[in-house]
Assembly symmetry: C2
Homo-oligomer: 80 residues x 2
Amino acid sequence: MKVRVFVSLKEGVLDPQGKAVGHALEALHFKGVKDVRISRVVDLELDTSSVEEAKKEGEAMAHALLANEVIEDFNVEVLS
Amino acid sequence: MKVRVFVSLKEGVLDPQGKAVGHALEALHFKGVKDVRISRVVDLELDTSSVEEAKKEGEAMAHALLANEVIEDFNVEVLS
């Protein structure tokens, strides 16, 4: 099963990496960039054939390692 | 307009960050993790109201800065 864990910063949390990208885009003469936020996607190939189990496993991994829940939200999706 | 640029490693390119996450998951006793690939998502808020223009702008930004096309693919999606 392929599981996708989408990890993004919570709303209101400053995104310095996004800010840096915004400044770099300005420096490259891209106009009108109002905001940039950067998230990450972790694609896992798991050795299970149950959609439910894959989703549960993905959520457990996100809680344990993939997301820092103090500042980040995550969303788990089973792709196939 | 909100534009999402999804940047992922090309197939066949080694993902050391993904490998490290895979080993860390094993160390945390998660069994059956066969593969881990990590991608990033850049969400841009652009000062334009044209979907076409937003998509073109996002693609230009990906070519210029957001993706390293030697090892990465990207996909641009206009969200709203």
